[in-house]
Symmetry: C2
Subunit: 189 residues, 2 copies
DNA sequence: GTCTATAAAGCGATAGAC
DNA sequence: GTCTATCGCTTTATAGAC
């Protein structure tokens, strides 16, 4: 498939999709050249560090997207309950109702975790921290907010695994709905 | 590390551990020879189909273990509540309190899913089916039992992802405890 | 059954023309 | 910026000695 791009910025979403589907080790330069339509010359022009730099750029891009569209809104929306609702809506859309894998989760469950552990860990830590703080603002006790945040993140990651493992994408949305229901605050705010 | 083995049967647990840590694409014959202490000659003697046959053997072994120690007890234990408790205890032990990855989940979130999808899907389908049936026996309505089974499996898989992604193995046990608590039946049986 | 040597293919990466 | 050709290296797999 030929697709013309001319900037490093434009190729990152395509790389992200490939890494999501194939994993880091499963992604070869051959696959990348085929799917992006760019030759190795162009790729190494954009990413002198090669495949590793491509993955780093994609990981940074994903991390940045989540910080902007998920983590910051959790912290900054005054209505905590609405912020949590908005997070679930964004997550459902981002992961295409279960059709799209989580790149951070894919890396975490592969040997490539050794290389990218810092980026992956930062992502999950930030998400857990900001979600737990928002759940606390919504009325959950501190300990319960932290444990519930872990349960929600596990539900999201596990829902994506099940969607692929069962080859049944709607299971992701069903699990997401259930963990969202767990987030209804115990007392009105 | 040198470790002497002489039978195909003996090498499978070692292969399983390697595939769990490195994934399918991330596992090379070099790593396998180093960690098992066997040369390529021995490995191809046991597994003429090479790396792919090694993975198939490991997948079948894992599937068999779960059918014997998790799925069958769920179906056959008369006390449904006790059967579910036993399942959680076995899962906690099998996954070493979060230190060990789930091979089926690792494959499901990699490009190797294309090759092994049938085995992976059968595993998750069987687990979900037998857990849902047991939850129904424990007092949950059919629809709720099915959805709860999905939530539990997602919690297990997601808990394992978080354990690796956060580099915090205890998070697996915490998530497991929470989904176990969700399985307390709504009415006494 | 296990080893070493080796083959054939694919890999990531580089060089240089345009 | 993009291409093609090519370089080493690693990969999976095979052959044959012991």
């Amino acid at each position: 498939m030929a697709r013309l791009v001319a900037e490093r910025h434009d190729v990152i979403p395509q790389l992200a999709e490939i890494f999501r589907e194939q994993g880091y080790e499963g992604t070869s330069l051959k696959i990348i050249t085929e799917r992006t339509g760019l030759g190795k010359g162009s790729l190494y022009h954009f990413f002198p560090g090669g495949k590793r730099e491509m993955a780093e750029a994609v990981l940074d891009d994903v991390d940045g997207w989540f910080r902007t569209h998920i983590f910051a809104p959790l912290r900054e929306t005054t209505d905590a309950k609405a912020a949590i609702e908005a997070m679930f809506a964004s997550v459902e859309t981002y992961f295409r109702s279960g059709q799209r894998a989580c790149l951070m989760g894919v890396i975490a469950s592969s040997g490539a975790m050794d290389i990218f552990s810092e980026r992956v860990q930062d992502y999950f830590v930030a998400w857990k921290r900001d979600l737990a703080a928002t759940l606390a603002r919504a009325g959950f006790a501190g300990d319960e907010a932290s444990a519930l945040a872990e349960e929600v993140l596990a539900g999201i990651q596990g829902g994506l695994i099940l969607a692929r493992g069962l080859e049944d994408t709607p299971v992701f949305t069903r699990v997401l709905e259930r963990v969202k229901a767990r987030c209804r605050p115990p007392r009105p705010q």
